[in-house]
C-alpha cells in the first residue's frame, strides 16, 4: 500500500515535471513562429530591411527553443505509456486518434518545413521560403488545437461510451473534439502563447533600448510587442473570464478551490483577493475579500448563490492551496501585463515610446512573466481537476500502470538531472543571444566578431547579416 502510494506520487511528480518543462517551449514557439511569419511577410511586403534583421535575429533563437520543444515533446508521447499504462489502455481509443492527428497534421508540417525555413531561403527563393515559414506557424497552431482538444476532453469528457473491459469508446467524434471546455481552453492558451512571446520580445527590446534607443530593429521589435500587449491582454482577460464561467458550469469544484470558497454562500459569494488556505480547519486565514464580487463575476448577479467545498466529499476535493495560489499568481501577472500594455499605449500616444526608461525597465522585468503565468494557469487547471485524470470517471490512482516506486524514482531523478542540465544550457544560449542586439553578425557564436552595442553603425549591421 505504501509503495503503491509512493509510486503514484512519484509518477505524478514525474508527469508534472516533464510536462511543465515541455509547455514552456511550445508557449514560446507558437507565438514566435507566428511572429516570424509576420516579420517575413512584412519584409517581403514593405521591402524594409529592418524586418529582415529582426526576423534573422529571432529565427536563431526560435531554432534553439524549437529544438528543446521537440525533444521534450518526444518524451511526452511516451510518458502516457511508461507510468500511466492503465490510463493509456482505457483512454487510447478516444485520445489516441486525436494525438495521431496532431502528429500527422502538425508535427510533420512543422518538422518538414522547419529545415527550409532555417536553411533554405537561398535554395528555394523568397516565395517558397515564406510559404515554409507560414507552414511552420500553422503547424504550431494546429498542434495546439489537437492537444488542447485532448486535454479538454479529459476535463469535460463527451461523446463516448464505456465498454466491457473499461475502455472509453468513441461514439461521436464531433462531440469528443469539440467538447464543452475546448474552445475556451484553446483560445485562452493560444492568446497566452502570443502574450508570452510578446513580453519576451518586449523584454529583449527594452533591454537593448536602455543601451541604445536609436537601433531601428530594436525599435521595431519594441513597437510590435507593445501593440500586442495593448491589444491582446484585454482579450486574454476576457477569454479567461469566459473560460472560468465555463469551468463553473462543468467543473464547479475547481472553481471552489480557485476562489477559496470552503463555505457555501447562499446569497452572494465574496471575492477573496488574498489569504492563506487552511486545509485542516477548512477556511481561508487572513482573507482580504470584497463581498459579493465573486457572484458578480461568475454569475453576473450580486446575490447569486455559490456552493462551496462543504458540499463536496473529502475524497473528491482537489488540493485547495496549490490551486488557490497558482490562480492568483496567473491573474496578478495578467493584470500587470495589462498595466504595461496601457502604459506603452499612453507613451506611444505621447510620442515617447522609445524614450521612457522606466517603461523599458518594466518590460525587462516582465519579460519572463508570461512563462510564469502559463505554468501557474496550467497548474490551476490540472491540479484543480484532481483526483481525476478523466474528470468524474477515471481516478488518477486508477490510471497508474504496474510500476514500482524505485523504477519511477530512478527515472524521475534521471529526468530532473538531464532536463536541468540540457535545458539549462539551452536557456543560457538563448539568453546570451538575446543579450546581443539585433543585427549582430554571427549572433549565435561566442568567438564571432562581436561589436559592442551602439558602436556599430546601423547601415553596417544591415549590410553584414545576409552573408551568414
Amino acid at each position: 500500500m505504501l509503495s503503491s502510494f509512493a509510486a503514484e506520487t512519484l509518477a505524478r511528480f514525474q508527469f508534472a515535471f516533464t510536462v511543465s518543462f515541455h509547455i514552456i517551449f511550445p508557449a514560446f514557439s507558437i507565438g514566435l513562429a507566428s511572429f516570424l511569419a509576420v516579420l517575413n511577410a512584412m519584409w517581403l511586403w514593405t521591402g524594409d530591411n529592418t524586418y529582415r534583421v529582426v526576423f534573422d535575429y529571432w529565427k536563431k533563437i526560435f531554432a534553439v527553443a524549437f529544438g528543446m520543444g521537440v525533444v521534450s515533446g518526444i518524451v511526452m508521447s511516451y510518458q502516457f505509456g511508461t507510468n500511466w499504462s492503465e490510463y493509456a489502455d482505457k483512454t487510447g481509443p478516444v485520445l489516441g486518434p486525436l494525438m495521431a492527428y496532431e502528429v500527422l497534421s502538425a508535427f510533420f508540417l512543422e518538422a518538414g518545413f522547419l529545415g527550409i525555413m532555417l536553411f533554405g531561403r537561398e535554395k528555394v527563393g523568397n516565395g517558397l521560403h515564406m510559404f515554409a515559414t507560414a507552414m511552420v506557424a500553422g503547424g504550431t497552431l494546429m498542434s495546439a488545437t489537437w492537444i488542447l482538444s485532448v486535454n479538454s476532453w479529459m476535463q469535460t469528457p463527451a461523446g463516448f461510451s464505456i465498454n466491457e473491459v473499461g475502455q472509453f469508446v468513441p461514439e461521436d467524434w464531433w462531440a469528443i473534439i469539440f467538447n464543452p471546455s475546448f474552445p475556451y481552453r484553446l483560445l485562452h492558451m493560444v492568446l497566452a502563447a502570443y502574450l508570452t512571446t510578446a513580453f519576451v520580445v518586449a523584454g529583449v527590446a527594452g533591454w537593448h533600448l536602455l543601451k541604445d534607443r536609436e537601433n531601428k530593429a530594436t525599435r521595431t521589435m519594441f513597437s510590435m510587442a507593445m501593440w500586442m500587449a495593448l491589444i491582446v491582454t484585454p482579450l486574454q482577460i476576457g477569454a479567461g473570464d469566459a473560460h472560468g464561467i465555463n469551468t463553473l458550469e462543468h467543473q464547479p469544484v475547481k472553481i471552489m478551490a480557485m476562489e477559496g470558497h470552503y463555505e457555501s454562500h447562499p446569497d452572494g459569494a465574496p471575492l477573496i483577493l488574498f489569504g492563506i488556505p487552511n486545509p485542516s480547519e477548512k477556511r481561508i486565514d487572513y482573507a482580504i475579500q470584497i463581498p459579493k464580487l465573486s457572484s458578480l463575476i461568475l454569475e453576473h448577479d450580486l446575490n447569486a448563490p455559490l456552493k462551496g467545498l462543504d458540499t463536496v466529499p473529502d475524497d473528491e476535493e482537489p488540493p485547495v492551496a496549490i490551486v488557490f495560489f497558482s490562480f492568483r499568481i496567473m491573474v496578478a501577472i495578467g493584470f500587470a501585463m495589462l498595466g504595461i500594455g496601457v502604459w506603452g499605449g499612453i507613451q506611444r500616444w505621447r510620442g515617447r515610446l522609445y524614450d521612457t526608461k522606466w517603461l523599458h525597465r518594466a518590460t525587462v522585468l516582465m519579460g519572463p512573466m508570461g512563462f510564469v503565468a502559463v505554468l501557474a494557469g496550467w497548474i490551476t487547471t490540472e491540479v484543480g481537476r484532481q483526483p481525476y485524470t478523466v474528470y468524474g470517471l477515471l481516478r488518477t490512482s486508477d490510471s497508474l500502470g504496474p510500476v514500482a516506486a524505485p523504477a519511477v524514482a530512478a527515472s524521475l531523478i534521471a529526468f530532473i538531472v538531464v532536463y536541468f542540465f540540457v535545458f539549462g544550457a539551452g536557456t543560457f544560449y538563448i539568453m546570451r543571444m538575446m543579450g546581443k542586439h539585433p543585427g549582430t553578425p554571427r549572433l549565435g557564436l561566442r568567438d564571432g566578431p562581436i561589436r559592442t552595442a551602439g558602436i556599430t553603425p546601423l547601415q553596417q549591421t544591415h549590410n553584414t547579416h545576409p552573408a551568414e
Binding site: G67, V70, T82, P97, L104, F107, R446, D447
Partner: protein, 336 residues
C-alpha cells in the same frame, strides 16, 4: 493461420510502415552521430552534422508517430510494451534529448563544443542501442496477464537483446557512413568509405547471428518462416538480401555515391520484413494479437481517414525537403 484483411490488419500494416520509415530515415542520422568520433577533424564533424541538420527533426517525427499511432489504434500494445520496456525506452528518450539539442547547441559555444559533440555521439549511440534492445526484448516476448504487463523489471535485459542492441548500432553506423559518403566529398568522404566496409561486414554478421538465434527464442518463429503461407514471403528474402549485399560491396569498392546507401537501406528493409513475418499475427509476442490489442472500429476508422489523406502529403513534402537539400554538402554553408 488465417489471413484476415480488416481494419486492424490495415492498421498493423500502417504502424509497421511508420516504424520502418522511422528506421530508414532516422537510422542514418543516428548513424552520423555514432560515427562522430571517427571523423578526423572538427570541420569534418561540422560537415557531417550539416548533412542531416535540415532533416533530422522530420525523421524523428516518425518515432512520435510510432508512439502516438500505437496509442491510438493498439492502446493495449502501447500500454503493455511501455511497461515492459520501461527502462530502455526512458533511456532512449533521454539519449534523444541529448543528441537533438546538440544540433543547435554545438554552434552556440566554442568552449563547450566538445561537450555537445560527446552528447551527439553518446545520445545517438545509446538511442540506437536501446532501440535494438527494445526490438530484441519484443522478439523474446512480453508476458501479459489480464491486460497488464506481468513480467519483471529486468526481463528485457538478456544476451539476445544485447546482441540485437549492438546489431542496430552497427547497422545504423553503416547507414550513416554510406549517407555521409553520398553527401560529401574529399577527406570525410574517404574516411567514411574506409569505415563502410568493416561496418557492412559487421552488419551482415549480426543479421546472420540474429536470424539464427531468433527461431531459438520461440519455435513459433521457425514455423512462421517455413510453413505456408509464410514461406511464400520468406522465399524471396535470401535472394533479395544477396542482391543488396552484392550492390553494397561493389558500390563501396567502386566509390559510387548513391548505390551503397540504397543497398544498406535495402538490408534494413529486408530484415524488417523478416521480423514482420516472425511477428504476424501478433503485435506483442507471444500472446497479444493484432485483434486483441486493436481499439474499437470507430477509433480505427476515424484515424484511418486522416492517415490515408495525410501520409501521402507528408511523404510528398518530406521528399520535397530532401530534394531542396539534395547533392553534396557545401562545407561553408549553414545558417549559423
Amino acid at each position: 493461420m488465417n489471413f484476415v484483411f480488416d481494419l486492424a490488419f490495415i492498421w498493423a500494416g500502417l504502424i509497421a510502415f511508420a516504424v520502418l520509415t522511422y528506421v530508414v530515415l532516422d537510422g542514418f542520422d543516428l548513424g552520423v552521430g555514432i560515427l562522430f568520433p571517427f571523423a578526423h577533424s572538427k570541420k569534418d564533424r561540422d560537415t557531417m552534422m550539416n548533412s542531416v541538420a535540415p532533416i533530422w527533426d522530420g525523421n524523428e517525427t516518425w518515432l512520435v508517430l510510432g508512439g502516438g499511432g500505437l496509442f491510438a489504434v493498439f492502446p493495449l500494445a502501447y500500454a503493455t510494451v511501455m511497461s515492459a520496456l520501461y527502462m530502455p525506452i526512458i533511456l532512449m528518450l533521454l539519449a534523444l534529448v541529448f543528441r537533438g539539442v546538440a544540433f543547435e547547441y554545438r554552434w552556440r559555444t566554442e568552449r563547450w563544443k566538445k561537450v555537445w559533440d560527446i552528447a551527439f555521439f553518446g545520445g545517438s549511440t545509446i538511442a540506437a542501442l536501446c532501440q535494438g534492445i527494445a526490438l530484441g526484448a519484443l522478439v523474446q516476448g512480453i508476458e501479459i496477464t489480464d491486460r497488464h504487463y506481468s513480467g519483471g523489471w529486468w526481463d528485457w535485459l538478456t544476451p539476445f537483446s544485447l546482441v540485437t542492441g549492438v546489431a542496430v548500432v552497427v547497422g545504423y553506423a553503416l547507414l550513416g557512413a554510406t549517407w555521409v559518403m553520398m553527401k560529401t566529398e574529399g577527406a570525410v568522404h574517404h574516411r567514411m568509405r574506409d569505415l563502410a566496409k568493416p561496418l557492412a561486414i559487421g552488419t551482415l554478421a549480426f543479421i546472420a547471428a540474429v536470424s539464427i538465434w531468433t527461431p531459438l527464442q520461440n519455435p513459433v518463429y521457425f514455423d512462421r518462416w517455413f510453413a505456408m503461407p509464410g514461406f511464400l514471403f520468406t522465399l524471396p528474402i535470401p535472394i533479395l538480401l544477396a542482391v543488396a549485399v552484392y550492390k553494397l560491396f561493389t558500390g563501396i569498392a567502386r566509390g559510387q555515391d548513391v548505390t551503397p546507401f540504397l543497398a544498406a537501406q535495402a538490408l534494413f528493409v529486408i530484415s524488417f520484413v523478416g521480423i514482420g513475418i516472425s511477428f504476424y499475427p501478433n503485435i506483442v509476442p507471444p500472446s497479444l494479437s493484432i485483434w486483441d490489442a486493436a481499439a474499437p472500429d470507430s477509433s480505427l476508422k476515424f484515424a484511418l481517414v486522416g492517415t490515408v489523406v495525410l501520409i501521402p502529403l507528408i511523404l510528398a513534402y518530406t521528399a520535397y525537403a530532401y530534394w531542396v537539400f539534395r547533392g553534396k554538402i557545401d562545407p561553408e554553408a549553414g545558417y549559423h
